[in-house]
């Protein structure tokens, strides 16, 4: 019984069982890296759905497997020693089993990516314009002139002033914000249906971050693409995401729509995240409430629930130290926690919410 409920949760999109078929369905994704010290279980048993035109936010601490997940969707682990398992269904096609050639055709065209550090993600020896032309011509059989016109149009769309003149600049001649705009232009140039933005604003100032987020939202409305935004800034997901996936130690510990995660989260790690950050929109608290301890090693994950060493509610009676928690069937959204559902709601209401 509990198994069927688990699969039910795993299969359902975070936004509930929508009528529209999901654009992207990730099923029991596993990415393991064999290393000299042992197997790094960077992503383990991860499932989620993403509807067309929707935005999914993935949050979690450094090293929780966010980037590895996004690289798996792009097929960037192919040809490396990484062991990838599960399914990544894009429009019903499993991206993990298609041929290299087919995958290459889809990269940039169906799924495009915006990386964290735009300076290192752009080639230092080629002009920004040429790098965009290249991105366009991989998937469009057009002349250089036509591609150039398209690139200038895109640079203009993302708000780069005098795009004609900027076409011939090298990445280092752009400011950080302009580079990220150029990356976004490159991602959008082929009208992809899914954009993965891996910490697109982490390297930028808040004022520039606001511009870039604004731009992404505007372009998404216009082009109707789905977005996966990866970040550790809960503010950014609150502004952007419809659905949120909380990762811890390579696993999804909680998944739900933005309101659920922000107003009635059920996983102690999600509580910890919300509690530990200072907030500008609340009365100033005397003290911050950190999550105890340090992030886990992915080679030697703690037994049972991998969050238990840092969880103040974990007990032996609940089995937290020995049993890996499945998704809780009682909850209305996927939560991996062994604390009984009612008790969890109780803890949240009485001791967590007041301190948020």
């Amino acid at each position: 019984m509990s198994t069927s409920a688990t699969t039910d949760h795993a299969a359902r999109g975070a936004s509930g069982s929508g009528d529209v078929p999901a654009l992207l369905s990730v099923r029991e994704l596993r990415v393991h890296f064999p290393t000299e010290d042992g197997v790094v279980k960077a992503v383990d048993d991860l499932s989620f759905d993403l509807a067309p035109g929707a935005t999914l936010g993935i949050v979690g601490e450094s090293g929780s497997g966010k980037s590895v997940t996004s690289q798996a969707i792009m097929g960037l682990h192919r040809g490396t020693r990484a062991k990838v398992g599960g399914q990544i269904l894009f429009d019903g096609v499993d991206l993990l089993t298609i041929s290299d050639e087919e995958l290459r055709r889809r990269r940039g065209q169906d799924v495009a990516m915006v990386f964290q550090d735009p300076l290192s993600a752009l080639h230092p020896y080629y002009t920004v314009g040429n790098q965009l032309v290249e991105a366009y011509r991989v998937h469009h059989d057009v002349s250089k002139q036509a591609a150039r016109a398209r690139v200038i149009e895109m640079l203009d769309r993302v708000g780069i002033p005098s795009p004609q003149a900027r076409f011939g600049n090298y990445p280092h001649e752009f400011s950080g914000g302009m580079r990220q705009r150029a990356m976004i232009a490159m991602a959008l140039i082929n009208d992809p249906r899914l954009i993965i933005a891996d910490e697109p604003t982490t390297a930028l100032d808040v004022t520039v971050q606001a511009q870039i987020l604004d731009l992404l939202v505007g372009l998404q409305k216009e082009f109707g693409s789905s977005i996966i935004i990866i970040t550790h800034d809960l503010g950014v997901v609150a502004e952007m995401a419809d659905d949120i996936l909380v990762m811890y130690g390579g696993k999804a510990v909680e998944r739900g729509d933005a309101d659920t995660i922000f107003y009635s989260p059920e996983h102690p790690y999600a509580w910890g995240l919300l509690r530990s950050m200072p907030r500008m929109d609340r009365l100033r608290t005397e003290r911050l409430v950190p999550i105890a301890g340090n992030p886990p090693s992915l080679i030697n994950l703690p037994t049972g629930c991998s969050f238990h060493p840092r969880c103040e509610y974990a007990t032996a009676e609940l089995g937290c130290f020995t049993t890996a928690p499945p998704f809780d069937a009682e909850s209305d959204h996927p939560v991996r926690c062994l604390i009984p559902h009612t008790e969890r709601l109780d803890i949240f209401e009485n001791s967590v919410r007041p301190s948020l």
Binding site: S276, D281, I291, N294, R310
Partner: protein, 399 residues
């Protein structure tokens, strides 16, 4: 450890000068300038227009308080911090510590200053020598200053390690064996080794995850209480700055735009730049985030080599663009606004300051607690502050 001796000893400095009472001025910075020279390129290079990293900033630091400095990348926060500590030689202005002009001191005086003022750096990886043990790193200030603690350097260092929540037995380990948050603790232990009065922390938590960031912020606060420290806390995260600071200075392009008590600044920012900065912070609350308006700044930060004339912010100022008349604009482009006090403890460098648009404010609940400078940390000189100990559950010393 020795927290009680620390506060029981009369409040004097290494030079024997008397420390001011809490809330009174300990450091006064007037019109501080740091221009980095540049040279032209050509067959014979000549001096060229300098980088005006810090271009005339004025502020006061009161004993026991935390002054937050915020601003965009490249606006001169780090340079300001380093120049105040005399780690960089200022090119203009004065710095008074305890009423004494310390601008450009050298030799022994400079060395002695290091026992009074210390720095904590951002990069928990780059700021610790990878080939030195933690013991050597934290003990280095004793060796450099030729100070021999009564119980020996090792015992003292182990006390320090315990105090910042590290296991004293890790004395012989190397920095790479520690996580980012733990390394930042090592940097803090080194900074407090000589019991300084003033610490400049340059983005001490920017590289850390939120959960770890909270641990380090709490540690910084505990240590401040325990050792009666005064902080300059540099950061670009406005939420963290609000949490830790008593007063906040907002910098833009080498200049201070606005200084005010924390609650005043966040509830009633008067400078258009401060308002834009506050409105740009994403809120971890989807409903509020959807309701709130943002002031989007256009363009990029101008170059500190060739800053705009008049008010340096006018090229990106939303008010300048949309609200001001042409004659008002001429003033912004032609005349440098001075830092002036528009309310007690609230100075603004703007010709046309004004209250923020209501849509950008995020605090629903009224901050009923008005800021009271005399109530700083609740600790006077005569009062003995008890060591709070670490309440950080991650603290290995508790285990």
């Amino acid at each position: 450890m020795s927290a009680t001796d620390q506060t029981a000893t009369p409040a004097t400095t290494a030079t024997g000068a008397e420390l001011p009472k809490f809330g009174e001025t300990i450091l006064k910075v007037t019109d501080l300038q740091k221009h980095f020279p540049r040279r032209t390129k050509g067959i014979i290079p000549r001096p060229d227009a300098p980088v005006k990293a810090v271009d005339g900033i004025t502020f006061e630091l009161r004993r026991g308080e935390t002054l937050g400095i915020v601003g965009e990348s490249g606006c001169g926060k780090s340079t300001a911090g380093r120049t105040v500590l005399q780690l960089l030689k200022p090119t203009g202005g004065t710095i008074e510590y305890l009423g004494e002009d310390i601008t450009g001191v050298t030799g022994g005086d400079w060395r002695r200053l290091r026992t009074e003022m210390q720095m904590v750096f951002q990069d928990p990886y780059g700021s610790l020598n990878p080939r030195q043990t933690v013991g050597a790193i934290v003990g280095a200030p004793f060796v450099i200053q030729g100070i021999k603690p009564k119980r020996g350097v090792k015992a003292e260092v182990q006390d320090l390690l315990a105090r910042v929540g590290l296991n004293p037995e890790h004395y012989n380990r190397y920095p790479h064996e520690f996580s980012g948050g733990q390394r930042q603790r090592i940097g803090i232990a080194r900074a407090i080794a000589l019991r300084p009065n003033l610490i400049v922390a340059d983005e001490p938590v920017s590289a850390l995850d939120v959960s770890i960031q909270a641990q380090v912020v709490n540690l910084l606060e505990d240590i401040q209480n325990e050792f009666n420290l005064t902080y300059v806390f540099i950061a670009h995260d406005l939420s963290v700055v609000r949490h830790i600071s008593d007063r906040v200075a907002v910098m833009y392009l080498g200049k201070v735009m606005e200084v005010a008590d924390r609650d005043e600044l966040y509830a009633n920012p008067q400078h258009p730049y401060t308002q834009a900065l506050l409105s740009a912070v994403p809120l971890p609350d989807p409903r509020k985030a959807n309701k709130r308006e943002r002031i989007l700044l256009t363009g990029d930060l101008p170059s500190p080599i060739n800053p705009p004339s008049g008010c340096v912010f006018h090229t990106r100022c939303p008010k300048f663009r949309t609200e001001l008349s042409d004659s008002d604009k001429a003033r912004c482009t032609g005349e440098v606004p001075q830092q002036r006090e528009i309310a007690p403890n609230h100075t603004v460098s703007c010709h046309y300051p004004g209250p923020p648009p209501a849509e950008i404010l995020v605090l629903e609940d009224d901050p009923e607690a008005a800021y009271d400078p005399t109530a700083l940390r609740g600790a006077g000189d005569e009062e003995v502050v008890t060591a709070t100990g670490s309440d950080d559950p991650a603290d290995p010393t508790r285990a």
